[in-house]
C-alpha cells in the first residue's frame, strides 16, 4: 500500500491544513511507517496518550508532500495491555528518544527499545552511559548546571587528548510534566501553558496550540488575526536569530558581534513592547486571534525598527564574512553533511543549513503565509558557517516579511473568540524559528483538556548534535552547540 492510500483511508481533522488521522491496526503501524519512510516523508512527532484519557494510544505524525498524516495505534486495555507496540527507531533514528519518553510518561513500551529512562530520572542509581574503551580515552562530564546562562542538561564526552570520540547527552532536567499539567487547564486557557513549553518559541507554540483548538472547534479566525500572528512569529524569528548571531560571534572570540547584535535585539524587543505590549510575546496569541491589536503608531515603530535592523544586519554580515578569525572558527566546525542530515532527520533551521530544504511556511502554507510568499533559504555546507549564513538569510527574509505584513495587514477584528468546545481533536503545526512545532490537542467534557502533546523540533536535532561534534575538539563544543541552539525545556516537557 503506497503512503497516499493511508491518506485516503484517514479522516480529515481540524487545524493544520490537509491533516488527516488514521486508526492503525496492530500490523499496520509499522506498514505506515515503512510506506512513509520509503516515500521520503518526515516523522514529525511521536507521542503517547495514557489510559486516563481513554484507551492508551500511541501516535505518529508524518509530513509528506501532500499532507500531514497522524497514525494512531490503540494499545488496548484488554489482552494487549502488557505487550509492546512496534518501535520505529530503525526507520527514524530519533524516534528512539521519543519512545523512551512515551514509556516514561504513559508506560507504553516499544519493541527493542533502550531500557534506560529518559525524561523521568527517578530517585537514584547511576545512569549507565555508554563507555568508550581504548588507550588514552577519558571521560569529561559537563552539567546539568552550566557555566553560562543556559538551560540544564548533561553532556558526557569521551575524548583522546582534546578530540571528541563520542558525546552522549542526558536530558530531562527541565522535565516539568507539562502534558499532565495541560490536563488541569480549560482548553480556552491552555495557550498560556503552551507559550511556556519553550519560552524562546512562545509565539510558535501558542499559535500551534490555538490552531489545534480552533480546528477542533471548527472556528475561523479573522484575517487580521492571522496576519498579526504571522507578524509576531516573524518577530520571534528575528529576535532569536539576532541573539544567536551575537552569541556565535562571541563564542568564536569576537565580542563585538555580541555587543552589536544584542543591541539590535534589544531594539526589536522594545519595539515589540511598544507595538504589541510585551518584549517577548508570551501572551499575545490567544484563542480566536490576538489578545492585542496593532495601532497605526505601533506599526510605524515596528516598521522603522525592523528596517533599521535589516540594514545594520547587512553591514554586520559583511564584517562577519571578512573577519578571518571568525571564518576560521566557523568553517568546518560541527559539520553535518546533507546525507547524514537526511538519515538522522535533521530538521528546521539546522536542517536547511544541511541541504534539508523544508519549511512549512512554504511547503504547507497556512494563512497568511499562502499570501505572503516567503522565500526559501538553504545551504548545504552543514557546518557552523552554514548555520550562521542560514540565520543571516532567514533574518533578512523575516525582516522583509514584517514589512509586507505591515503593508498588507487587513482591517477588521483582531480576535473572534471561539465558542467553548466539548469533545474535539485538532492538530496545529507551525514553522517556528527553530523548526516545526506541533501541538496535538484533545478536548473533553466541559471544555477541559483531555490530552495535549506539544512537540519541539529539538527532539529531532539533539541526537544529530552528538554526531556533529565527533572529531571536533572539546573547546569548540560551546560554539557548535550554540550553532544549533536547541531547546532543553521544549524537549524535556
Amino acid at each position: 500500500m503506497g503512503h497516499r492510500a493511508w491518506f485516503d483511508r484517514g479522516r480529515p481533522i481540524g487545524g493544520a491544513p490537509g491533516a488527516r488521522l488514521v486508526r492503525a491496526g496492530r500490523g499496520e503501524w509499522r506498514a505506515i511507517a515503512e510506506d512513509f519512510a520509503a516515500a521520503g516523508a518526515r516523522l514529525l512527532a511521536l507521542w503517547g496518550q495514557g489510559g486516563e484519557a481513554g484507551e492508551p494510544t500511541v501516535f505518529a505524525a508524518y509530513d509528506a508532500a501532500h499532507g500531514l498524516l497522524i497514525a494512531a495505534l490503540g494499545c488496548g486495555a484488554g489482552d494487549d495491555s502488557s505487550s509492546e507496540y512496534p518501535g520505529l527507531q530503525d526507520l527514524f533514528p530519533f524516534a528512539a528518544r521519543m519512545q523512551r519518553a512515551v514509556r516514561d510518561l504513559v508506560g507504553l513500551r516499544a519493541s527493542a527499545m533502550d531500557p534506560r529512562p529518559w525524561l523521568r530520572h527517578g530517585d537514584g542509581g547511576d545512569y549507565p552511559f555508554v563507555r568508550v574503551a581504548g588507550d588514552g580515552v577519558h571521560e569529561i562530564p559537563v552539567g546539568p548546571v552550566h557555566a553560562g546562562i543556559i538551560e540544564p542538561g548533561h553532556f558526557r564526552f569521551s575524548v583522546v587528548g582534546e578530540k571528541v570520540l563520542r558525546l552522549e547527552q542526558r536530558l530531562g532536567y527541565a522535565h516539568k510534566d507539562i502534558e499532565r499539567r495541560f490536563r488541569e487547564f480549560d482548553a480556552l486557557e491552555g495557550h498560556r501553558l503552551a507559550a511556556r513549553v519553550s519560552g524562546d518559541s512562545a509565539v510558535a507554540y501558542a499559535w500551534a496550540y490555538c490552531q489545534a483548538l480552533e480546528g477542533a472547534s471548527k472556528h475561523e479566525i479573522p484575517p487580521r488575526a492571522a496576519w498579526l500572528r504571522a507578524l509576531a512569529l516573524e518577530l520571534e524569528r528575528i529576535e532569536n536569530h539576532l541573539g544567536d548571531l551575537g552569541a556565535l560571534g562571541n563564542d568564536a572570540g569576537f565580542a563585538f558581534g555580541l555587543t552589536q547584535f544584542s543591541r539590535l535585539k534589544e531594539q526589536v524587543l522594545r519595539a515589540s513592547e511598544t507595538a504589541l505590549g510585551q518584549r517577548y510575546l508570551l501572551d499575545a496569541v490567544a484563542p480566536g486571534g490576538m489578545r492585542v491589536d496593532l495601532s497605526r503608531s505601533g506599526a510605524a515603530v515596528l516598521a522603522d525598527t525592523v528596517t533599521a535592523v535589516a540594514a545594520e544586519s547587512i553591514e554586520l554580515r559583511s564584517i562577519y564574512d571578512e573577519h578571518a578569525g571568525l571564518r576560521d572558527r566557523f568553517a568546518g566546525a560541527g559539520t553535518v553533511t546533507p546525507e547524514l542530515a537526511a538519515r538522522l532527520g535533521l530538521t528546521g533551521l539546522a536542517g536547511r543549513a544541511s541541504g534539508q530544504a523544508q519549511d512549512l511556511r512554504i511547503d504547507r502554507p497556512w494563512a497568511p503565509y499562502d499570501r505572503l510568499g516567503p522565500a526559501k533559504c538553504g545551504a548545504t555546507g552543514g557546518d557552523v558557517a552554514a548555520r550562521v549564513e542560514q540565520r543571516f538569510e532567514e533574518l533578512a527574509e523575516s525582516c522583509r516579511l514584517v514589512g509586507r505584513i505591515l503593508e498588507g495587514l487587513p482591517a477588521g477584528e483582531s480576535i473572534a473568540p471561539p465558542p467553548a468546545c466539548e469533545d474535539g481533536f485538532g492538530v496545529g503545526l507551525v514553522e517556528g524559528w527553530r523548526g516545526p512545532v506541533l501541538v496535538a490537542l484533545s478536548i473533553g467534557e466541559a471544555g477541559r483538556i483531555r490530552f495535549c502533546h506539544p512537540h519541539d523540533p529539538s527532539w529531532q536535532n539533539w541526537p544529530v548534535l552528538e554526531h556533529a561534534i565527533i572529531g571536533n575538539i572539546v573547546p569548540d563544543f560551546p560554539l557548535i552547540n550554540k550553532s544549533f541552539n536547541l531547546s532543553y525545556s521544549g524537549h524535556d516537557l
Binding site: R120, H121, P144, V145, A147, G148, I149, I150, E151, P152, G172, Y173, A174, H175, K176, D177, I178, R180, R181, E184, R192, L193, R196, V197, S198, G199, D200, A202, G243, F256, L258, T259, Q260, S262, R263, K265, E266, L269, R279, Y280, L282, E315, L316, S318, I319, E322, H323, S487, Y488, S489, G490, D492
Partner: protein
C-alpha cells in the same frame, strides 16, 4: 577591522542609567550604584545563574542584562562560572524533581554569606507549572530564598531594580 572600528564609533555609547528601585530612589545614577556595590562587597558582585527548570524565557531576559543598553558589567556585576566564586545565586524556573539535587549542591558549594534570588513567577510561586511530582514549584521549597523578582519573564529593568533592592537590604542587615 576598519569597518568594525567605524561601526563602534558610529554606534557610540548606548548604555542607559539603571532604573530606580522606587520613586524615592529615582535619583540613583549608574556610578553611584557601582560605587555602592563596590562599597558593600569591596569588589564586583559575582552572580551564578541556575536554571532549575525554567521555560528559558527568564534566561533570555537575564542574558539581556549583558547587552550594551543595560550593561550590567559596567555596574560592577559579573556572571561567574562556578558557585564557589559567587556571592549571589540567581535561580529561575520551578524546581524540577530532576534538578533538585543539582540545585542543592550548587547552594552548598556557594560560600557564606550568600544571597539567593528567585527570578520569575515560576521561581517565586511555581507559576504556570504549579506543583506536582515532577515540578516541585517555588525555589524556596528546596533552598532558602532571600528575595523574589516577579514577572513572566521579568524585564531587565525589573531584574536590575530587584537586584539593587536585594543588595541594599543585605547591606542594611
Amino acid at each position: 577591522m576598519l569597518k568594525t572600528l567605524q561601526k563602534i564609533r558610529r554606534v557610540g555609547c548606548v548604555s542607559e542609567p539603571p532604573p530606580a528601585a522606587s520613586a524615592a530612589a529615582a535619583a540613583r545614577e549608574r556610578e553611584a550604584l557601582q560605587g555602592r556595590i563596590l562599597e558593600i562587597l569591596g569588589r564586583a558582585l559575582c552572580i551564578r545563574v541556575v536554571d532549575a527548570g525554567s521555560c528559558n524565557a527568564c534566561e533570555l531576559e537575564i542574558n539581556a542584562l549583558g547587552n550594551p543598553i543595560y550593561n550590567i558589567e559596567g555596574l560592577g556585576v559579573r556572571f561567574v562560572a562556578s558557585p564557589r566564586h559567587a556571592d549571589l545565586l540567581l535561580v529561575t524556573g520551578p524546581v524540577t524533581r530532576n534538578m533538585r539535587e543539582a540545585l542543592l549542591r550548587t547552594y552548598e558549594a556557594t560560600p557564606d554569606p550568600k544571597l539567593v534570588v528567585a527570578v520569575g513567577d515560576c521561581a517565586a510561586t511555581g507559576g504556570v507549572f504549579g506543583e506536582s511530582g515532577e515540578s516541585l514549584g517555588r525555589i524556596s521549597n528546596v533552598i532558602p530564598v532571600d528575595a523574589t523578582i516577579a514577572g513572566c519573564p521579568p524585564s531587565p529593568t525589573r531584574l536590575l531594580a530587584g537586584l539593587l533592592t536585594v543588595i541594599e537590604a543585605a547591606r542594611g542587615a
